[in-house]
């Protein structure tokens, strides 16, 4: 039997090779075949989760509730140095200096990454803005979001903070952050489906000790992760509760 492994579509493109290397390491370590499936967008990933086609998922926090509470997945680990934080930007020439300067009919450029969109929408609430009085333009990637701002086609852009930090200095200089989230408890998680429940503890141990071997460190380097931090079920439940509160308008 080949296990099916999916990565949340919002991973940075430069990490693709790293995930294939991780998958190879996982197959050798577990001594079983694992197929790594990449999805173009969150809708197709969600359909795969809903139709029980996946056994391992590196999941966006937005999918954690569906995976854990409905599909009986168990959390394994999160990356030590990666948290999901959002940043709202304008073009440097835009008149808004603070979130409160934004007006109804603001045009927002964003990707389809659901937790970043949710955090962005929360951070514009102090200007009395919401989905009903703004216009959301969905872009394929963060470079396209930046282009929308620089071309004056959007007023603000929602970015994953890490994605903004990795833009070139030339682009960053032309953009101005209005607000950056500091939530600290929302993160992607590696999760195992019911077929792996009997190997859950062993998997957590393998992941959390990866950084103690040279081979394991090499794999982590390819993923740009310093180490995996084990997550217990209650930590995941807490994050899901938090996400649930944030989804209430």
């Amino acid at each position: 039997m080949t296990l099916q492994f999916a990565i949340s579509p919002d991973f940075p493109p430069e990490h693709i090779a790293g995930w294939y290397i991780f998958n190879t390491w996982l197959q050798r370590t577990l001594d079983c075949a694992i197929h790594l499936q990449l999805y173009d967008n969150f809708n197709t990933l969600r359909k795969a989760i809903e139709s029980d086609r996946l056994d391992l998922v590196y999941a966006n926090p937005f999918d954690a509730s569906l995976l854990i509470r409905e599909k009986h997945f168990m959390s394994l680990a999160r990356a030590d140095n990666l948290q999901d934080e959002a940043i709202i930007l304008t073009a440097d020439q835009h008149p808004a200096r603070h979130i409160e300067d934004l007006c109804p009919d603001t045009i927002i450029a964003a990707t389809d990454v659901p937790d970043i969109e949710m955090m962005g929408m929360i951070m514009i609430e102090p200007a009395d803005l919401n989905r009903d009085n703004t216009q959301l333009v969905t872009c394929d990637n963060y470079v396209m979001v930046a282009k929308q701002l620089l071309n004056g086609e959007a007023d603000i852009g929602f970015f994953l903070a890490e994605a903004f930090d990795s833009l070139s200095d030339l682009v960053k200089k032309q953009l101005r952050p209005l607000v950056r989230s500091q939530i600290q408890v929302i993160h992607h998680s590696l999760m195992a489906g019911p077929v792996l429940h009997d190997r859950h503890t062993a998997l957590m141990t393998l992941l959390s000790t990866m950084d103690t071997s040279e081979k394991g460190r090499g794999v982590l380097d390819a993923l740009k992760i310093s180490r995996w931090i084990p997550i217990d079920q209650e930590d995941s439940e807490f994050m899901i509760d938090l996400m649930d509160t944030l989804m209430i308008d």
Binding site: E100, M123, E125, D128, Q182, I183, E237, L242, T245
Partner: protein, 162 residues
């Protein structure tokens, strides 16, 4: 809960006697100093079924002005401001004990007598079909909503006092 202490208060203050739902009372000392909501942050806490704090994040600690040790094990109502109408908290408890989420604008009282406004969302935490605790997340409210609720709560308090 202990009465608030004058030496903790910054600036001029007025004294109020609050009565809580469990029948207990506490003297609170209130100043007119507003602490701005910190940009980009969420204030997060969890309580048990009796409203006693079991978890607070750093933003909660920073805004409340108490230490984490002072907060854990204390009723959440330690932050209750006398400008809040009793009806708001009655609605909160009625809603969450019915297993539903509650959202509302709340003026909270700091240890130093000042205050801060939040948009609070409270949800019941369900485990194995049972409500075991409540999670509360606060975010930054708009000034328009703060002004609207300042007036609304003043009216409600006047009605409650009659």
């Amino acid at each position: 809960m202990q009465d608030m202490c004058p030496r903790d208060i910054v600036g001029d203050y007025t004294e109020h006697r609050l009565r809580y739902f469990d029948g207990s009372q506490r003297t609170v000392l209130v100043s007119e100093t507003e602490t701005p909501y910190p940009e980009g942050r969420l204030i997060v806490s969890r309580t048990d079924l009796d409203g006693v704090l079991t978890h607070v994040n750093q933003s909660f600690v920073d805004m409340a002005g108490y230490t984490k040790q002072e907060l854990i094990g204390t009723p959440h109502s330690i932050l209750r401001h006398p400008d809040m109408p009793r009806a708001a908290f009655a609605d909160l408890w009625q809603t969450v004990t019915a297993g539903k989420p509650w959202q509302g604008y709340v003026k909270n009282l700091r240890k130093d007598g000042g205050y801060y406004w939040v948009l609070a969302t409270v949800i019941p935490n369900v485990r194995q079909g049972r409500v075991v605790s409540y999670t509360s997340v606060r975010r930054k409210p708009s000034r328009g909503k703060v002004e609207e609720h300042t007036a609304l709560y003043r009216k409600l308090r006047m009605e409650e006092d009659q």
